[in-house]
Each structure stands twice: as C-alpha cells, then as structure tokens.
C-alpha cells in the first residue's frame, strides 16, 4: 500500500516522459501538431478563396454561408463521421479544425482586402503596378492587420478545440481530462487545463509579436491618434 495519492508535482514528474504515447510530453506535442497544422492549412486555403471572393463578388455569399454552416456543426459528431474515412488518426481532428479556421479566416481575408482604401488601390494601378505585384506589395500588406486579428481568434479556439478529440482518442492534452472520468484524480485535469491555457497565451503572444513586426505602420497610426 502507498502513502495515499501523489502530489501534483510528483504526478507530473512521474508522467512527464514515460516513453509511452500518453506521457505528458507526447500529449503536448500531439496537441501542438493538431492545433497548429489546421491554422496553417486554413490560412493557405483562405487566402486564395478570400481573393476569389473579392474578385468574383457573387462567390462570397454562398462561400461564407457554407462556412458558417460548417462552423455551426458540433465538433464531436463531425469527428465521429470522419472516423469512417480517416480512422482514429490525427487527421480526423485536423480536418474539422481546418474548416473552422477557414470559416473565420475567409471573411477576415475579404474584410482585410476590403479595408484597402479605394484611392490607394487606384494610385497603385496608376503608378504601373502589375495586378500580381499590386496584390503582393500593396493589398495584402494593408490587409495583414485584419487577417492577423482573425488568426488570433483561430489559434486560440483551435488550441482549445483539440481537446474534444480526446473522445475519439486523439485529443492531445484533452486525453488528460478523459482519465478523470475513470478515476476521480485531479492532477491530470489541472495540468491539462494549465497547459492548454498556456499554449493559447503563448500562441496569441507570438501572433501579437508578428503583428508588431509585420505592420509597424499600424502602431505608428495608433500613436498618432493617441
């Protein structure tokens, strides 16, 4: 017989790196993969789709309508549905999260490009920018703050949503919560929550930093207004 349940620190020490799939370290890595991959793919898909919606305005209503319906689908049944296609793999979590990300990022790209003042776009045309160069050198940089704001929402919600995947055995740190059902032992739950919140805060901080580095002119503008 032991001396009662271990303290939270003892538990962390014992489970940090057991070499098993459910060690805290492995769960953390899985969690990062399953939340970051959807963010990146969602951005890569939302850019061309958002551009298409700006170019062909009639596309925007059906696209955003469809994405909103997808966003409204509860994640758990979607995971269940996908199991029949992609099995109990990380892909089953990554696909829905990618769609959720796109539901936020497509409007962000459209709004971002919409935030380019007409006289700025006109003057870029008049200066002799080719359409591609105008997009890359003028329109996307000006759209960046709005897109990055969308990225912050997606990053945090994606990191938090991954844990639902635990119900199909792919939840990263969410795996720590399901254990508490079987055994009313609190340390894993606390560690799970703290690590997820920490991940979200760090991801958000990195995006804020990226915003500052990529768009110094936005800060200049705020400084002016203050």
């Amino acid at each position: 017989m032991g001396d009662g349940p271990p303290s939270i620190w003892e538990w962390i020490g014992r489970n940090w790196d057991t070499g098993r799939a459910d060690s805290i370290r492995n769960l953390l890595t899985d969690h990062l993969t399953m939340s970051l991959v959807p963010i990146v793919i969602a951005l890569l898909l939302a850019l061309p789709l958002g551009l298409a919606c700006v170019r062909w305005r009639w596309l925007y209503q059906p696209t955003s309508g469809f994405m909103n319906v997808v966003y409204a689908l509860p994640s758990l049944p979607v995971f269940m549905l996908l199991i029949s296609v992609t099995g109990l793999s990380q892909t089953t979590v990554i696909i829905p999260l990618t769609f959720y990300g796109m539901a936020v990022l497509i409007p962000a790209v459209v709004d971002g490009l919409g935030s380019v003042p007409d006289h700025v776009r006109q003057s870029a045309v008049a200066m002799g920018f080719t359409p591609l160069r105008r997009l890359l050198a003028v329109e996307l940089p000006i759209a960046a703050p709005v897109v990055l704001a969308g990225m912050r929402v997606v990053a945090v919600s994606s990191i938090s949503l991954v844990s639902v995947g635990a119900l199909i055995g792919q939840g990263g740190l969410g795996g720590l919560f399901t254990r508490a059902y079987q055994n009313p032992f609190m340390p894993p739950v606390i560690v799970g929550i703290v690590l997820i919140v920490l991940l979200a805060v760090v991801a958000d901080g990195l995006l804020v930093l990226a915003q500052r580095l990529l768009t110094p002119w936005v800060r200049a503008r705020k400084g002016q207004a203050a």
Binding site: V125, A126, M127, G128, F129, R133, I142, W217, A220
Partner: protein, 352 residues
C-alpha cells in the same frame, strides 16, 4: 503633346461618359479639364494612362496611340496625382516617393537618393522621410503625392482633383507651389478639377466640359473669361468674370505719378486733395487729406513688378484716396496710380 482624337467612352448600360472629345494638351503646358460632376473629366484623364480604355477614337502621346502600349509600362512613364494623395499607408514616405523607380528596377540607393531630392523639392522637411503617411497632415501628404508622381521624371503628369480634399489656405499654397514647380520643370500637365477658380489660376489652357462628356469650350483663361462660348460656360464661370479677368492683365503698364509723395513732417501746401506721406526710407505711411493735414488715412499697395491689374485695383479700393501705391521689392514707393491712370488702364483692358 497629348492628343484626343474624337474620343468617346460608352458603358455597356448605355451611359456616355465622354462624347467625341477632341482636344490637345500641348507639351510643357498645364491643360485643365473643368466641369460639373458627371462631365467625364476624370474619365478623360484616366483614358490617357489607360486606367479606362476608350470605346472610340484615339489618344496619342507625342503621336503614338496609347492603345498600343502595355498599361503598366505606359503608366510608369506618366506621373499621376490622385485626390487624397493615395499614399501607401504601410510604406514610409521615402519609399512611397520611390515607388515608380522601384517598379522600374532602379538601384535602391539611387531611388532613395532621388526620393530625398524630391522631398525637398516639394518643400517638405527631409526629417519626414522616415515617417508613415498617417503621421503627415493632408497638405503634406498631397505634396508627397506630387513628389511620388515626379520621382521617375516623367514628361507627362496627370492630376485628378489633387487639391480638393485640403482646406482653402493649404490649397492656395499647393497651387502656388505647383506653379513654381512647373516653371522649373515644364511638364506636360493635364489637371482635372471642378473648381473654375482653380482652373483659371493654374491653366495655360482650360477645357470646359458639360454633363454627358461634351467639350463646351477650350481657351486660355483670359479669353474664356471675356468670351465664353455659350450660356453654359458663362454660368459655369460664375460672377465677377470681368474683375477676375484683371488677374491676367499686368499692372506694369499703369501710368504712375511721382509728384504726390511727401516726406514725413513736411507740410507742403498743395492743391492736391491727397498726398502720400513716406518715411525716411521711402516706405508709405498713409494718405494725408489736403483739407485736414493733421490726419493720416490707410493706403493699399501692389508690387510694381509682377502684380496684376486686379491687385492694383484692390489696392486702390483699400484707401479713401482711391489711389493705389506701387512699391518695389523692398517696399519703397515707386509711384502712385491715380483714379485716372486706373481708369485708362481699365478701359484698355475692357477693349481686350
């Protein structure tokens, strides 16, 4: 020279923006397109650099149809100043100015050096180079817009209501600055405005367009004011055409009297109703009424070299004596233009 050869712009819905416009914008001159909104002036301007393509007719740039030139290449060779400046908010002022040189593939250092020169040329503090557009006032932004248009030294400059979004004092400064720049650079400028006063001030030639994109009249400002082609042009020119026309007549020809000035302190008895009292440096102090030698009345001056009949008449109206005082660059009195002298000059002006 830019030539419009019966150019029309018709939209698919049947709207006619420009209707059979034939016009020449001579090299080295400012041609102003002016008219009410919906007269197709901006459309006409944008057809020159192919931001809009003409439906019919041909626009020639020194004899070469613009239709045959690839739009980005064409545009890099034509400066463009837009209303609200249209500066790129994410680029520093220096990089905004160097936009076209960068597009043309100039060496970055050379492009920036050129941008710095232009910044000073348009009258801005070089310290602004590292700022972002939002940190500049509207007038400063517009100057940057002009500098950007000039960066690659294009022979042609298109200006689309460039000064209409700034307050009247700044606008006047920008207009004067443009005229000063033009006297140094001699660009072929096409300038669009809805403000007839601006058109008359800036234009070597003014083309008045009416709604529906038809040319009503094209003439130099003086002719436009004295001989409007029809009621539309007359109405568009507005009030005070005669007075405004005086701005184009030099005051150099005014007959001056030099026997009406007296030094301060002298009480020279004279039959003249008014005498101009001057200080030891010949600068005017005031008009002394013959009847009341103890008083000094206000006076108005104009520059003997450079001012117009309008300024001279204005100076005369500022004084109860009814005479205008001509002064030189140092403010010293050159002579006095009496009512008779003004009358003669005005009669001559009215004759054309």
């Amino acid at each position: 020279m830019i030539t419009f050869d019966s150019v029309s712009k018709r939209y698919p819905d049947g709207t006619v923006a420009v209707d059979a416009l034939s016009l020449e914008a001579p090299t080295g001159e400012i041609t102003v397109l002016v008219g009410p909104s919906g007269c197709g002036k901006t459309t006409s301007l944008r057809m020159i650099n192919r931001m809009i393509d003409a439906s019919e007719g041909e626009i020639l740039l020194d004899g070469v149809p613009v239709r045959g030139i690839d739009p980005p290449t064409l545009r890099r060779g034509i400066g463009y100043v837009i209303q609200q400046a249209g500066l790129f908010p994410h680029r520093r002022i220096i990089d905004n100015i160097a936009t076209v040189p960068y597009l043309l593939g100039w060496d970055r250092k050379k492009a920036r050096a050129t941008a710095m020169e232009l910044l000073e040329r348009v009258g801005l503090d070089p310290a602004l180079a590292q700022r972002y557009p939002f940190q500049l006032s509207g007038g400063q932004q517009q100057r940057v817009g002009v500098a950007r248009a000039l960066a690659a030294d294009p022979p042609v400059l298109l200006m689309d209501e460039p000064f209409s979004a700034v307050d009247p004092i700044v606008r006047t400064n920008l207009q004067d600055e443009l005229l000063r720049l033009q006297s140094e650079l001699n660009k072929t400028i096409v300038f669009v405005t809805h403000d007839i006063d601006e058109a008359i001030k800036l234009g070597d030639r003014v083309a008045v367009l009416r709604v529906g994109g038809r040319l009503a009249q094209v003439a130099d400002p003086k002719t436009l004011l004295s001989e409007p082609a029809d009621d539309f042009v007359r109405e568009f020119l507005g009030q005070d055409r005669g007075i405004r026309r005086l701005r184009f007549i030099s005051a150099d020809g005014l007959r001056l009297r030099t026997d009406l000035t007296v030094p301060e302190g002298s009480d020279g008895g004279t039959s003249e109703p008014w005498l101009l009292v001057v200080d030891a440096d010949d600068r005017p102090l005031g008009w002394r009424p013959g009847a009341e030698p103890g008083r000094l009345e206000p006076f108005g001056t104009y520059a003997h070299r450079g001012d117009t009949m309008r300024a001279a008449l204005d100076a005369a109206l500022l004084s109860p004596s009814g005479c205008a005082v001509a002064v030189d660059e140092q403010g010293k009195v050159v002579g006095v233009a009496t009512r008779q002298a003004l009358d003669e000059a005005l009669t001559e002006a009215a004759d054309g």
